[in-house]
Amino acid sequence: MITISVNGQPHEVDADPNMPLLWAIRDILGLTGTKYGCGAAQCGACTIHLNGEAVRSCVTKLGRASGQQIVTIEGLSAHNNHPLQLAWNELDVPQCGYCQSGQLMSAAVLLRENSNPTDQDIDDAMSGNICRCGTYQRIRAAIHKAAQLQREMVKI
């Protein structure tokens, strides 16, 4: 039995510690917002936060997450009101939407560490998240917008 904390809730998972964490999140816990893309850490669709880092859950073994803090897209904010989610809505970023939860989870780490990222910072942080629809320009604009919202929230 492996204990993991997902979105603040402890879970006992009866599974092989070598199983990808993504399997546990989606198939055992039923949190299907995190997507399977490539299974090889090449696309970023499965990005979750493991102790605050934007980890690729498709190649992360369940055993690595034992006793650790996991946040999925479902837990990014309590009321879908993370500055990134607000900006994503405002700029209508997604097209098909499949990669977007991974994009948001990666962008959240960027904004946590850099409240006013440049285009280069965004490229450096987000280049591991692929979007087949090519929404990159809107993603970049939304991250700038979210950074602005985040700074305004801090002022208030």
Binding site: A41, A54, K61, S106, D124, A125, S127, G128, N129
Partner: protein
Amino acid sequence: MNKLNRNIPGMKKLVYLAIALFMIGVVSSSFSIISEKKDNYTLMPKDSIGSAKAFMSVYKVLMSARCMNCHPSGESPLQGDDNHIHTMNVKRGVDGKGVYSARCSNCHQPENTAGLHMPPGNPKWGIPPANMRMVFQGRTPRQLALQLLDPKQNGGRTKAQLIDHMAKDDLVGWAWHPGDGRTLPPMTRSAFVSQVRLWISKGAYAPGEKAK
């Protein structure tokens, strides 16, 4: 009784001699332990040709993909036997472990992930930090030898620590256990370490300017 009394000064001498020999033994053995810890190589007669020749073998390993890919001249690590820039153009970062949401350990696990083209792994996965870049890519044998010997460019290592790093560091050792589909360096690790030791033992000479 008289005979015994006469022998006492002789006995005392023997006891003093035994104590002295014991002390010499203790002191010299403790020195040899310290010496082994400090110098994990034996100094040989200086031999610039033999030393530089040994380094050329070392150089071949260091310039192989498994070593050089993590010692790039630019700010991104390299991949593959053709030393192409790492997909996603991932960046070194201050600590050599990546930046923001593109940290090395986000994809690279504590061990290799099984399968072709899957991320290799090690608990210390990363490249040298920004303040100690330890570049191999593009260095000539002479440049690399001098760089490796310079504590200001080699992470502050003495020659003995350099040997230790090559011989024992787990991340260096990954090169000989690189996971599915990756070529190995051109010699075994023990053969490599023997050449490193030979290079240093014979005087740690850098090959000439024209050596390739």
